[in-house]
């Protein structure tokens, strides 16, 4: 599997994504600067966590307008896999690659802690290696992870099996405990928790490895 990681000026989980991808795939992903308007030939594009342009406006709003996002949209339109983590999820909703929006946490505070997620859907390139209903522990670290969409959209997401991860103890007020969702074509995943931080057992667990393994098996 060939992967690329998008680097916005204040991305700050770009190195973590690179480390996790290198560990899992055995090769270093391409690091793509936000001003680039073309992507190399890759199977997976990762939009990492961070603060993209400082996020003084709505999180991810400015990043969604950057040159590289046109290329990411084209990649997604062609069926290419896109994984948006944390700020990457915010960028994906702002770019309308995923429905809904991420609002300020219900508790109004940044929250960083390990959370338990239920794997709700294994029919995707991202989660095929997990068991349905499996509990996994991923860390969250965000101030604006409170997922919102109207009821019709939420019903549709649930009805189409596009809610991939749900919190077992909601840390941010997300609608219907949603932690991660798929696009209609199931090739774009946005999630607030950080799978790239649970690849190496020495720093918090290994539950994220299966997400990357699933991608490798599906996309290679």
């Amino acid at each position: 599997m060939k992967a690329a990681v998008i680097v916005f000026p204040a991305s700050n989980c770009d190195r973590d994504a690179k480390t996790a991808l290198t560990e899992m795939t055995g090769k270093s992903p391409a690091m793509i600067w936000h001003q680039d308007s073309e992507l190399p030939d890759v199977d997976l594009v990762v939009i990492p966590g961070g603060f993209s342009y400082g996020d003084y406006l709505r999180c991810g709003a400015m990043a969604s307008q950057s040159p590289v996002m046109r290329a990411v949209k084209a990649h997604a339109d062609m069926g290419g896999a896109v994984l948006g983590i944390c700020n990457g999820f915010q960028v994906l909703t702002e770019s309308h690659l995923l429905p809904g929006a991420l609002m300020r946490n219900a508790g109004l505070k940044f929250v960083c802690k390990p959370v338990t997620l239920r794997v709700e859907e294994t029919q995707s390139a991202f989660t095929s290696g997990y068991d349905n209903g499996q509990s996994v522990m991923f860390p969250v670290a965000h101030g604006e992870g409170n997922y919102y969409a109207d009821d019709a959209t939420l019903d549709r997401l649930e009805g189409e099996g596009r809610v991939v991860f749900r919190y077992t103890a909601n840390p941010n007020g997300s609608a219907r405990d949603i932690a991660g969702i798929l696009s209609e074509k199931r090739n774009v995943l946005g999630m607030m928790p950080h799978p790239e931080r649970v690849v190496d057992g020495a720093t918090g667990g290994t539950d994220g490895r299966k997400l990357f393994q699933s991608l490798i098996e599906t996309l290679s």
């Binding site: 204040a10 996790a20 960083c112 670290a141 720093t203």
Partner: protein, 734 residues
């Protein structure tokens, strides 16, 4: 031109004698711009004029030290060509006036100090002191400081991995916000601030210069009074996005060989950075302020020189490398300008709108700054053993203490900090020391910040020793070899002989401990005049230490790991209750002598425990400090099973008759370890053979904490008390 009157001199925080000295050094009266420059360069904050003579007594060298005090941060060798660069700094006064921005820019400032030297910051720590919890401002200050630290550090993508928080009335109107940054560099790529050579371009990069923070350094060198909150405009505003760009761009420039010298613009901004670079390089600097990127129109030379706008750097480049540097800053969308040149005149010359706005010999600003041997009196340390009710039930007191302001879980705070970004955090907040891996290696750095202000108040010298010893012990308790420290000396007004005595005695104690433990000081910061309306804070010399684990997989944590482990106490218990948390929280007394710190015992006990951890024989260890033995056991139980508190313990009183003294005494140089039964016997035998006092207290297991087989309490009950205090306290926040 404004006439300089005695009132203007006084407003600049300069004494009549100091003003006379400026006249002598210049050979004429200064103009307003020059007066402004002298006022910041000679402020306590920049010149260390009250402490310099005493700081010289601290040990600052050792085989591990690459760069000691005097640069932006200290540098130590951690093997394999890796260097660790670190420093702690205060932002006390701004944080009291405007807690969010004060704390945020404190974090930004200390990060710049570290990446200015070529390091990528990898961990942040902080040491916070607030007033009493029921003080009307306490919640506002706690909420603002915590979100300011998080807001800045989280955006930077540098994990905030630990720290300490105290509440005491001595900080009611003068909180302390000390932030520490730890970074990693290669030993062959460290950048210093000496602007050597003439004819080299002086370049400015980062954010634009505005009118914010003018005279921040002078404010930090004055006592607070009720009008201080009117100084809000002198608190700078932080922009972590700009700092993130500045970090990446600076490191990118450092990967070229274009830089001769580099210095961040911190307190006193452009003035201090240019004077320091010229001073260290033995050169002169000529600046043209017309070239400085400006945020506001019509700024005067005075304003530009004294602005403390954040996220700015000054560097001297090799001639001809300007375009290459400019391209990097353009990529990162930051301002870049050539604003001056180095000269051989040893003068700082400032031009603005075609005229010379200031012209001063650089040594007058630095070397010739006044150094005071301020008069001091050493008071007799507090002494005696307070009385207390010896029959009080132990476990009820324990529960009360675990749910008190100073002992309660700090989860409410650290869950607001991204502590796992960079994916190298091996030990998150809540243990004895934070542990962060050296990326891509099996090595890790352990980091801890410590001081016990109530001991320092009772006995400044013993308190100084204890701060160092506890830091060293915390690093040891995770299995690290302590390497070096940074100190952040927070005190009251040094012009009062009693306060100056506290400073002198604390520095003596710190020096004694650093020497005995081979734990030199490589960087630091002094914050004086921490007083409000004439009342000084508790002396608070915070010590930030760094240690190295050669093999991070051997790291110990405080959590009980298994049922049936033997709980072993290392060190001697005499039941010292003077100045203890027990006495304060249960008996309502802040009395007695501070505990004695026997540095020989510290070293012997610590080296013994570290060896057990390094060789993989012990994976569970906790240093004993606030609250004593039973608090430590409770913390080990509460931390078990990922903090669910699944493993309790049954322990018995050993060695002394007084139950209160045994369980709650704060005798120093002690650790608790837990080891499987098969190992325990050998460990105890080895300790005794080495002449170290050890006692087997009991075994882990069950889900409650039981003492002497007579009384017990569920760990979950302790957990509830421990976790509830902070969220309950902050609920009334808004």
């Amino acid at each position: 031109m404004t006439e300089i009157t005695p009132a203007i001199v006084a407003e600049h925080g300069l004494s009549p004698d100091e003003y006379a000295r400026i006249n002598t050094l210049l050979g004429r009266a200064p103009n307003m711009v020059e007066l402004g420059v002298f006022s910041v360069m000679w402020s306590e904050h920049c010149s260390y004029k009250s402490t310099r003579a005493h700081l010289r007594k601290l040990p600052t060298t050792g085989p591990q030290v690459i760069q000691g005090p005097g640069e932006n941060a200290g540098v130590i060798d951690i093997g394999d060509g890796d260097a660790c660069i670190f420093k702690m700094e205060s932002h006390n006064h701004p944080s009291f006036i405007e807690p969010y921005q004060g704390a945020a820019t404190g974090v930004g400032g200390i990060m710049r100090d570290v990446f200015t030297m070529g390091a990528r910051p990898i961990a942040m720590m902080n040491a916070l002191r607030f007033g009493e919890a029921d003080h009307p401002k306490a919640r506002h200050l706690v909420a603002g400081v915590v979100s300011g630290i998080g807001g800045y550090g989280n955006c930077m993508g540098v994990p905030t991995v630990g720290g300490e928080v105290n509440f005491h009335k001595s900080y009611n109107d003068n909180i302390l916000v000390n932030a520490m940054c730890v970074g990693l560099a290669r030993t062959d790529n460290i950048f210093l601030s000496a602007a050597k050579g003439a004819g080299n371009p002086v370049v400015y990069f980062g954010s634009k210069t505005g009118r914010d923070g003018i005279h921040g350094a002078t404010m930090a060198s004055a006592e607070f009074d009720d009008a201080s909150e009117e100084k809000r405009p002198t608190v700078q505003v932080g922009d972590p996005f700009a700092e993130k760009l500045l970090l990446e761009a600076t490191l990118e420039l450092m990967a070229t060989d274009a830089i001769i010298a580099i210095q961040d613009m911190g307190a006193a901004g452009l003035t201090s950075s240019s004077a320091e670079m010229g001073d260290k390089g033995g050169s002169g600097i000529e600046l043209n302020l017309d070239m400085v990127p400006q945020r506001e129109p019509n700024m005067t030379a005075y304003e530009m020189l004294l602005s403390e706008s954040q996220e700015r750097m000054l560097a001297v480049l090799k001639p001809g490398r300007e375009a290459e540097a400019e391209a990097i800053f353009k990529k990162w969308e930051l301002d870049f300008a050539v604003i001056g040149i180095t000269t051989d005149t040893k003068r700082l010359i400032i031009k603005h709108k075609g005229v010379v706005a200031a012209d001063m010999p650089i040594t007058a600003l630095s070397d010739e700054a006044p150094v005071y041997e301020r008069p001091y009196t050493l008071r007799e340390p507090a002494s005696g053993t307070p009385t207390y009710d010896k029959a009080r039930p132990v476990l009820a007191s324990l529960e009360k203490m675990l749910g008190s302001a100073d002992m309660a879980s700090r989860r409410w705070i650290w869950e607001q900090y991204d502590h796992s970004v960079m994916n190298d955090t091996s030990q998150a907040p809540g243990g004895d020391a934070a542990v962060v891996r050296v990326h891509g290696t099996k090595k890790a750095l352990a980091i801890s910040t410590d001081v016990t202000p109530r001991y320092c108040k009772a006995d400044p010298r013993m308190g100084g020793r204890q701060a160092v010893a506890e830091c060293w012990r915390n690093l040891t308790a995770v299995g690290a070899t302590p390497l070096a420290t940074t100190d952040n000396l927070n005190f009251g007004n040094p012009q009062k002989p009693d306060i100056m005595g506290e400073i002198v005695a604390a520095i003596d104690g710190i020096g004694e401990a650093c020497r005995a433990l081979d734990f030199p000081i490589v960087s630091g910061n002094c914050s004086l005049y921490n007083e409000t309306n004439g009342e000084g804070i508790f002396p608070t010399p915070a010590i930030g230490g760094v240690g190295l684990l050669k093999d991070a997989s051997k790291m110990a944590t405080i959590a009980f790991k298994r049922d049936g482990d033997v709980v072993i106490l290392v060190g001697e218990t005499k039941g010292h209750l003077g100045q203890s948390i027990y006495l304060r929280e249960i008996e309502g007394k802040e009395e007695g002598a501070a505990p004695k710190v026997d540095l020989f015992a510290e070293r012997r006990h610590g080296d013994f425990v570290r060896k057990l951890i390094e060789t993989g024989r012990v994976d569970t260890c906790h240093d004993l400090s606030d609250g004593g033995l039973i608090v430590a056991i409770a913390e080990m139980a509460m931390a078990s099973k990922n903090g669910s508190g699944g493993i309790g313990a049954s322990v018995v009183q050993a060695s002394i008759a007084d139950a209160i003294g045994f369980w709650f005494g704060e005798d120093q140089a002690r650790y608790l370890i837990a080891a499987p039964f098969a190992q325990a016997e050998t460990i105890v035998a080895e300790a005794r053979a080495a002449g170290i006092t050890v006692a087997e207290l009991g075994k882990t297991g069950g889900d409650s904490l039981s003492i002497d087989g007579k009384s017990s309490v569920a760990v979950s009950k302790l957990q509830t008390a421990h976790e509830a205090w902070f969220p309950d306290f902050m609920k009334a926040e808004l």
